[in-house]
């Protein structure tokens, strides 16, 4: 332990604790800009400078460890003046476009400028002439607004191991770009959007497609259908000041109906269908030895893209089952349209996702048009929906709860935990256990696949078998798991796991790239808890026991993995180049 004094207050912290974290322990808030709780400190911005008694220079609190007997001053008029100058210098390279910026009122730089009472432009402005990159259709890169804090670079390179973004040039010419100024769409970018969730300003943000949705809602010839992903319900409340992690499912249904959607469905129904298909796939491979093990989940489109670019040798291991939102999409335009005597050409399906990669997924391959039309017309993020609800003049926080529309809105507890890391595995194990043993699990809460450890492993006794599982989230954690699989394959040994779940974003979809800003592990846990509570509150906690899922199979789909199911609910994968240019 290290003992020191910060602003005269004695503090005792473990060795290696930064001045920033130590100050937090004694209720002192040192302002920061480049530092994010998820990421290692880079010391790029200089806003967190503090004084150490006996030292001439000011140091950055985010990357200076507290030492024994240090006497730190975090706030005095000189320090505040220096911080203000740092902010003014940053502003001299940042356009004054707050009112028309996607991060208006959500921007960390704007907040600092406001807190420090910056009232003038103290330095002449220099703005680089770099055009926005809209090539992906998922996220927009606007390097003019970049303050070179480096967060997106650390996210893309270290947290996600994608290396699509780099920091090119130096000094005043420093800029974010894929290697060699190619477009993001030609780079290895997997559209996870974690860069946009971590950017402190408006330099990276989701491709706003709310106008398309409004247009469809206004179109009398369109029958508008909406579905909400599991993780959206426990995060949307943040946009309206509701407690963190509060489950807003009922309010969401009400709000969407009031916005004009004629059918309000739930992606969780699709999750239940995914589990039925995927658990059958697992049984085929595990019990009947038909197909490669381990089976790897494929409901995360950023992960699918990552696999196709970096691990194409794993294609045979991937579940061919589509993601839940695609399943609700295709069933909306086939099963539901037929039931409603609706021309699927006039059905317009909107999915609300915690995710930017879903915007890519809806057109990623021919199978996403299995209904004969584009199964999902547009996918918007939680952030976009938050803005739409505000534009619609809906007092979200006070809304009464409503029910979803029948049948594609009915879900089990297993479906809802898809939104948190380990959830798909847990849901699949519950169903697979039943399929393999014909019996029910005593304890259906699989604690060892829950939580925020980057890689979680477990061995689950299933009848006379043991199912070895691994769960990874945050793409940097994939390597540890898949390298073991590759090694075993190369040596012709038994696979180290039978079933692997991967989610691209840390925490799973609750920490998705399209979720409300300000994500930290604390928030990920709170949102996750909201989903586990939703699961516990359901009497129906097995996907395959969802009576409405059974009915759709009986009336329409036939057998799981059958001809119709294969045609509508499955997809294929192919190796894709990391760089198109």
């Amino acid at each position: 332990m290290v003992k020191a004094r910060i602003n005269g207050i004695t503090v005792k912290v473990p060795e290696g604790t930064t001045i920033l974290d130590a100050a937090h322990k004694v209720q002192i808030k040192i302002p920061t800009l480049c530092k994010h709780p998820d990421l290692r400190a880079t010391g790029a911005c200089g806003v967190c400078i503090v004084k150490i008694k006996g030292s001439q220079k000011m140091v950055r609190a985010c990357c200076t460890p507290l030492e024994e007997n240090m006497e730190i001053t975090t706030h005095d008029p000189e320090i505040v003046a220096v911080r203000r100058s740092v902010i003014e210098l940053i502003l001299s390279r940042h356009p004054n476009e707050c009112l028309t910026c996607g991060r208006n009122q959500n921007c960390e730089l704007q907040k600092l400028a406001s807190d420090f009472g910056v009232r003038r432009e103290s330095f002449p402005q220099y703005l680089p002439d770099i055009k926005p990159d809209t090539s992906t259709g998922t996220i927009v890169l606007e390097p003019r607004k970049c303050i070179s804090c480096g967060r997106c670079i650390t996210v893309c390179q270290e947290m996600q191991n994608v290396w699509a973004l780099s920091m090119l040039e130096r000094g005043i010419d420093t800029r974010i770009s894929p290697a060699g100024d190619i477009s993001l769409a030609d780079s290895p970018c997997v559209n996870c959007g974690q860069c946009s969730a971590h950017c402190p300003t408006g330099a990276i943000f989701e491709n706003d497609e709310t106008a398309k949705v409004w247009q469809a809602l206004q179109d009398e010839n369109k029958y508008c259908i909406v579905e909400i992903a599991p993780a959206v319900r426990v995060a949307i409340g943040e946009a309206f000041g509701l407690p963190l992690g509060q489950n807003c499912t009922g309010k969401l249904y009400t709000a969407l109906r009031r916005m004009g959607f004629e059918a309000v469905f739930d992606t969780n129904f699709g999750a239940d269908v995914t589990i039925v298909e995927e658990a059958h796939e697992f049984v085929e491979r595990f019990v009947h030895k038909k197909g490669a093990l381990p089976l790897i989940t494929s409901c995360c489109p950023a992960w699918v893209d990552f696999m196709e670019k970096f691990y194409p040798d794993m294609i045979e291991h991937f579940s061919s089952c589509k993601s839940p939102h695609q399943i609700v999409g295709v069933l909306s335009k086939t099963y539901y349209a037929r039931k409603k005597r609706l021309d699927p050409a006039n059905a317009y399906v909107v999915s609300v996702m915690p995710c930017t990669a879903k915007k890519y997924e809806i057109k990623r391959s021919g199978e996403m048009f299995a209904s004969g039309h584009q199964d999902i017309d547009v996918s918007i993020t939680t952030r976009e929906l938050g803005r739409m609800i505000k534009q619609a003049g809906i007092d979200f926080a006070s809304l009464p709860d409503e029910e979803s529309d029948h049948i594609l809105g009915e879900y089990s507890g297993a479906g809802t935990i898809f939104g948190v890391t380990g959830g798909v595995m847990e849901a699949a194990l519950r169903t697979a256990y039943d399929y393999i043993t014909g019996g029910k699990l005593k304890n259906i809460d699989f604690e060892n696949v829950r939580g925020l450890a980057g890689v979680k492993e477990g061995a689950v006794p299933v009848g006379s078998h043991t199912v070895k599982v691994a769960v990874a989230h945050g793409l940097r954690n994939v390597e540890a798991v898949l390298s073991k699989v590759r090694l075993a394959k190369a040596r012709g040994e038994e696979p180290p796991y039978h079933f692997i779940e991967v989610m691209a974003c840390p925490g799973g979809c609750v920490g998705g790239g399209g979720q409300p800003y300000g994500v930290t592990d604390e928030l990920r846990v709170k949102r996750g808890k909201g989903l586990y509570k939703d699961d516990e509150a359901h009497t129906m906690r097995y996907s395959h026991e969802n009576p409405w899922v059974k009915k759709v199979y009986q009336d329409f789909l036939g057998e799981p993995l059958g001809t119709k199911a294969k045609e509508l609910l499955h997809a294929a994968y192919k190796a894709r180049p990391e760089y198109k240019k």
């Binding site: 290396w163 040039e169 130096r170 290697a179 060699g180």
Partner: protein, 161 residues
């Protein structure tokens, strides 16, 4: 023909990378040698190098663009540097620069379509007594007058085979 040429670039990259394998800080040394060989770092070579060294392309470009020394574009046969340092500037270097631009029909940082000339404006070539100065490859031309530019370039244009 095309594929043998491709192979040879690949082999050259492999050979250079091989010399520096597993040595700390090898990327810069390798890039130096690559540029020595090709005159710049072609994208094709950077991509090969990324695979060969198992270093992300992002890192390679971060290094290349950090240092002015490394070039991403093919240099011309003749590289013209027009000095815009203080002394040259005061002696009318901007008119010299304009004259070169007009005659070659290219801008600063560009290469003529035939690959003959590349034009750069630089800061101080270190011979202010000769201002205004231009340098073509390794040869210095001092006290240049606007009217002489055409004549100087013509001598190089003649060398075009």
């Amino acid at each position: 023909m095309e594929s043998t040429k491709e192979m040879s670039v690949k082999d050259q990259v492999k050979a250079i990378a091989g010399q520096w394998r597993d040595r700390e800080g090898n990327l810069i040394m390798i890039l130096h040698q690559i540029q020595g060989k090709f005159g710049y770092v072609p994208r094709e070579v950077a991509l090969l190098l990324s695979r060969e060294l198992d270093v992300p392309l992002a890192t390679i470009y971060e290094v290349i663009t950090f240092y002015n020394y490394f070039k991403l574009e093919k240099p011309g046969k003749y590289n013209i540097a027009v000095c815009m340092g203080t002394a040259c500037y005061l002696k009318g270097a901007s008119q010299i620069l304009d004259a070169v631009k007009d005659l070659l029909n290219i801008d600063e940082g560009e290469t003529t379509p035939d690959g003959m000339f590349r034009l750069d404006a630089v800061r101080c070539l270190g011979c202010c007594g000769l201002a205004p100065v231009i340098m073509i490859n390794d040869r210095i031309y001092g006290k240049v007058k606007k009217e002489q530019v055409m004549e100087i370039l013509a001598a190089y244009k003649k060398n075009k085979e």
